[in-house]
Symmetry: none
Subunit: 219 residues, 2 copies
């Protein structure tokens, strides 16, 4: 999950960033609204953490602008204790939740988890290669709409080819990739796995360079 933190207090910002990172999420941190707008046009975020008092304007206006433009990205507001009216305004402007400073970092995690659960589900990037649709994060391959199950070795081999599309890979290189130094194979293992991959994914997927090695075929 990608999170954008918009907070000008460097101490708090660093603490929040570290907490989120330790939860395994990806964080970008900006200190100004114009930087936030730039970041959002460059990247799609799953959640915004928005401070209301920033050097170049009030966060409320920023949030209202987002909602007016139809942006539905979840927003959690971070505000100081005495700004009761801001909190009300924030909720009415379209915030999903808010946290009152000073807040406990574990509570932040709980709120992020809650929002994330509510909005779970944005798809992973899909590679296409000829008739194949490949989702690297999900480790899944689809061919003509059907799911093609790959075993661990098969996936490792396929991944090696995908990492260097079109490049020639010798059997020795592939063995290193699959067996990480220590193990010695004394047989035609690579040939066998290439054969199994071709059967599952299509015979054109991997080309043989006789005496040299293999390479990923053109789509």
């Amino acid at each position: 999950m990608r999170i954008l933190l918009i907070e000008d207090d460097t101490t708090l910002g660093a603490a929040v960033r570290d907490q989120i990172a330790s939860d395994g999420q990806s964080v970008d941190w900006v200190t100004r609204l114009d930087a936030a707008a730039d970041a959002m046009s460059a990247t799609s975020y799953d959640l915004l953490l928005l401070d209301l008092m920033l050097p170049d304007g009030r966060g409320i206006g920023f949030l209202k602008g987002l909602r007016t433009r139809g942006d539905v990205t979840p927003v959690i507001i971070l505000t100081a204790l005495d700004q009761v009216s801001d909190r009300i305004e924030g909720l009415n402007a379209g915030a999903d939740d808010y946290l009152v400073k000073p807040f406990d970092l574990s509570e932040l995690s709980a709120r992020i988890g809650s929002v994330a659960r509510r909005y779970s589900g944005n798809p992973n990037p899909i590679l296409t290669h000829g008739p194949l649709d490949i989702d690297l994060a999900a480790r899944s391959v689809h061919r003509d709409g059907g799911h093609v199950p790959l075993t661990a070795r098969e996936w490792a081999l396929f991944e090696a080819f995908l990492a260097r599309p079109g490049q020639l890979l010798s059997k020795a290189q592939l063995e290193e990739k699959l067996y990480a130094f220590d193990a010695e194979v004394e047989s035609n293992t690579i040939e066998v796995h290439v054969s199994r991959l071709r059967k599952k994914l299509g015979s054109a997927i991997i080309e043989t360079e006789r005496g040299m090695g293999y390479r990923l075929g053109k789509p």
Copy 2:
């Protein structure tokens, strides 16, 4: 919108009741948990305002009981306890929001409006997955109309799969989700919990990819 106020402080209770009524909502007010249970069996409410310290028990247990039984009615907690741990416990028990006494009555109105909007936009955010109906906010699962109780670990595991449907998750990834880095498990805990989830939810719910991990099966 029908609101049930559960609050034993008569001064505060009356103030809250009047505020809500002046917002045009319908309120019932009880001062004990057993009275709340009676009222809820007689009437269907759209929102509960729940004090945590009551003459006949702690509101947290009451809330947990509700969620365990599959009740998804939105709950806002009202309490004098401003301990962070209590607030986290409340949110984890299934509360939708939190107000720490003393609070501003206009803020109460804003929160009620927020919860109402959240639930009117999508009245009951229920995921369906094959024969399963899943309410993420209430942490409840129904199968063939019956409630399936999940333990904490089971839910955490299930949630990890739901967050990335169809994606392969390694045991290491799942352990990180369940144990947040600090604790180390030296055994087949994940396997055991997967086994229990399958027994409760159906064996097809989670697929094994030997040597790689698990993924949520197709509905």
